[in-house]
Symmetry: C2
Amino acid sequence: MQNKFISDKIAIIGIGLIGASIALAIKHKKLPFTVAVYDRDEAVRAEARALSIGDSVADELAKAVVGAGLVIMAVPVGAMASVMQLAASHLSPGCVVTDTGSTKRSVIRDTIGLVPEGCHFIPGHPLAGTEFSGPGAGFPSLFEGRYWLILPNGADAEKVSALEDLLAGLGAMTEQMSADYHDRVLAITSHLPHLIAYTIVGTAVDLEQDLKNDVIRFSATGFRDFTRIAASDPTMWRDVFLNNDEAVLEMLQRFSEDLSYLQRAIRWKEGDKLFDMFTRTRDIRRSIIDAGQD
Amino acid sequence: MQNKFISDKIAIIGIGLIGASIALAIKHKKLPFTVAVYDRDEAVRAEARALSIGDSVADELAKAVVGAGLVIMAVPVGAMASVMQLAASHLSPGCVVTDTGSTKRSVIRDTIGLVPEGCHFIPGHPLAGTEFSGPGAGFPSLFEGRYWLILPNGADAEKVSALEDLLAGLGAMTEQMSADYHDRVLAITSHLPHLIAYTIVGTAVDLEQDLKNDVIRFSATGFRDFTRIAASDPTMWRDVFLNNDEAVLEMLQRFSEDLSYLQRAIRWKEGDKLFDMFTRTRDIRRSIIDAGQD
């Protein structure tokens, strides 16, 4: 691939699972960039140095972003505005800024006014991750064959194409959409499933000790899949729910109605209603397998 | 292993994922038994013959169970009583009858009065399965290293030990418990997770078409795990919810309260409550990994 940014320096702010994986993928795939990484947590910076994440680990945000053609904000969505605020006066004219946050309306709302004239903010969201967090959780193939959503939000087509080239270079498939639509899709595909997984695991945490121990032992029957999801980073997910509250609450309302319907069917022993619902849900699984998403 | 039943014939009634896997495991592990299988569905019997499941595929239930030292009822829990009723007059004195149903209080309640004098009913439940169903879904290693719960329910220790030997021969780890306790543990580890997965996938099914298509495309962010669970056999799961309604409704009540708590925290932007809950749920994941259940 060719570098179409104003310089071959990429700055990554936040060296968690996502930030570290981007740095590792750029190196692993020998893309023509120099990567400077920064994290506000000194222990994380030390870990990044030990793991050789990025070509340099900066001790100040300003040093990471100065001269960069692309700045990637890979921090929890609640921290995007303060990163942009700290970075703004050090950004080079013509540079592109993107982020990897899981909510997009809030990130645009919080940061758009802070982007300096002449810089190009193109929000993004890689649909990739694991239940692990921190620089040690990163790996270079995280984005391979995964979607990376882009919200051009009126940015120059040339800059959008530069960003898309890089993301394709990381192995991702890019897709453009609006922030509103993004937040609705993610509310049902990701945010609500996480909220529900957190809830059911929380319900189990509050069980009496004997029962809880056996829930752990006999978890291989459905519950275990939920605990994996519910082991995700608490800060990131707190921020997701605070920042996509509208779409999540709407989907949660629908979910609760549907759950009450099944609850009532169980209470009144209406087997046909249960059977109908359990048959309809099978088709969606088939569609996912057909779409190659399994 | 040694056969401790009154004969070396094992009858398996119901040739679904579980029944087929038991037959395949007995053959694969060269256990000293002859296996007769039966299913009330002619097409399933034909498939079982084509796949060489069991040493013989009987066309009548009576022919499968006659002379058997062990009869395994591997049918949906709502069908256990009718299987026992059909089998009763053909069972040999001294034989053991077990089942593989996911609810235990209801199976005991429905069948205990139908077991002939001199036969030994020892309910059981293998904690193993996949989202696939039917004879073609069976495979011999399904029970390898998995728990198989046994409810002696007052049966002769010698008969219980004969059954446990066989199950260990299939690769399973047996555990004894009471029906009440079984139904409570399974309500939270398996039944409630399935109900919730069915619900959220059902909620997605009802979305407008464009959004639904993108939910399928971008499912790799949590939702996909739920669709796998929600693809499980509708008949089996209808019967589970109708037959473990008490324990499921109790756990569902707790779950709903916990979900309302998080919903309220989102609405009122109480980030600390969300963060606390998301931190507590992480520990259970750690316990499951420590318990070797992942």
